[in-house]
């Protein structure tokens, strides 16, 4: 598939999911979130360093997306729209955090304690953080254990962001073979991942 066709395909996925979500299908909204959650975390991480805060801001972004989705007309690409929301939410988060500390008439040590208390409002349990690390380790191990041809295909696709056509040229094989190799690589990693996801601890959210 040519690069412009690939872009059309990506856009068609977003359009269909947005259309279903706008019609009230929660599952379609979940699929949109799943599709963009890591990209959104990547954008937020440029502004917010703390990992727990990144998780919080990401939630805020998708809450805004959910609320604004009925008004999204598709004039711009969905990713462009969500990208803007992520940047604005990250900036607002930083402003609000500095204002909270400035407005509090306390000593520096107290302010530090106050800031950390704010951070404590919403955090991962140690089990959840451990589960995250375990998942990442399992994926890394599964990739390392893949046969060379599968590993090269999945790395070129996911890490280097190449299209099937580009990978086919690089590996000197038909596009159908690339498609099959990428799928087999995903399937093998998925099999290593499934047992870990069965007992994944939940994230604790304190509403206060």
């Amino acid at each position: 598939m040519k690069k412009e066709n690939k872009q059309m395909s990506e856009k068609a996925i977003d359009q269909e999911l947005v259309k279903q979500a706008q019609a009230g299908d929660t599952k379609a909204f979940e699929m949109l979130v799943t599709r963009y959650q890591q990209k959104v975390a990547n954008i937020i991480s440029r502004y917010v360093r703390d990992r727990d805060e990144v998780l919080d801001v990401a939630q805020e972004v998708f809450i805004k997306v959910y609320k604004a989705l009925p008004r999204f007309r598709g004039d711009s690409a969905f990713y462009t729209w969500i990208y803007r929301i992520a940047i604005n939410t990250s900036k607002n988060h930083l402003v609000a955090r500095s204002r909270r500390i400035q407005n509090s008439d306390v000593e520096p040590e107290e302010a530090e304690r106050y800031a950390s208390a704010l951070e404590m409002q919403n955090f991962d349990t140690p089990e959840a953080e451990f589960a995250r690390q375990e998942i990442e380790a399992a994926v890394t191990k599964a990739v390392d254990e893949l046969p060379e041809d599968l590993r090269s295909a999945i790395v070129m696709r996911e890490v280097d962001g190449l299209s099937y056509e580009e990978i086919a040229k690089a590996m000197d094989c038909p596009i159908g073979t690339v498609r099959s190799r990428i799928f087999r690589a995903r399937d093998a990693i998925d099999r290593a991942l499934k047992p870990l996801l069965a007992e994944k601890p939940s994230r604790v959210t304190y509403v206060g």
């Binding site: 598939m1 690939k6 059309m8 395909s9 990506e10 068609a12 996925i13 269909e16 279903q20 299908d25 929660t26 379609a28 909204f29 979940e30 699929m31 979130v33 799943t34 599709r35 959650q37 890591q38 959104v40 975390a41 990547n42 991480s45 360093r49 990992r51 727990d52 990144v54 998780l55 990401a58 939630q59 809450i63 959910y66 995250r132 998942i135 994926v139 890394t140 990739v143 999945i154 790395v155 696709r157 996911e158 890490v159 299209s163 099937y164 498609r179 099959s180 990428i182 799928f183 995903r186 399937d187 990693i189 998925d190 991942l193 499934k194 996801l197 994944k200 939940s202 994230r203 959210t205």
Partner: protein, 206 residues
Amino acid sequence: MSDRSHEKISVLMDGEMEPNAIRFLIKRMISDPALGQTWNRYHLIRGCLQKKPNEPLMIDVADQVLARLGVREYTEPEKSSRAHAWLKPVAGVGIAASVALTAVFLMQQSPVTRHANTGEQFLVQQKIPSQSVPLQTPPVQFVDLPRAQLATSVSEWRSSGYPDLRTPQFRGFLYQQPQQRAPGTLQQHAPYVYTITPENRVSSSH
């Protein structure tokens, strides 16, 4: 669900699917939870491979967002509607009350006991007194004994809520205890209630 469906999901998320097939597959994923889970896991793998070292791995963001919006409870083992959250404490109190009531009711009912000396089983029927005299002594009827006869307990029966102590072991203890006491102790105040049994009723009538 076949490998072919998974392969289609793999192609779809790479943006390599023909546009006319996209709509159909998305609708299938929405309606089939297993395919939806595959979509989630494949994106989790993508997240692991694409994330930068300082970024957290994003898991379950959709669940958390929908929970915060009040659309759905966050993924707990027992999912329940937020709208019925107030029912939990009420149901808890109700269950506790019914268990307590059942326990009290069962303690008041001791339909079968065992004869202290012979070990033979006999039935004690307690007729519930009328409501105007709630704490009257219930009549006791002994059956299935060679010398079965009607007897009435002289002890005042009260609904105290304590366990029934009219067991063979406890009776045996009460009978033996005064004999083991040293002279001069308060034998006459042994804390038990005299109970008519077939034997002592017959002997007292002589």
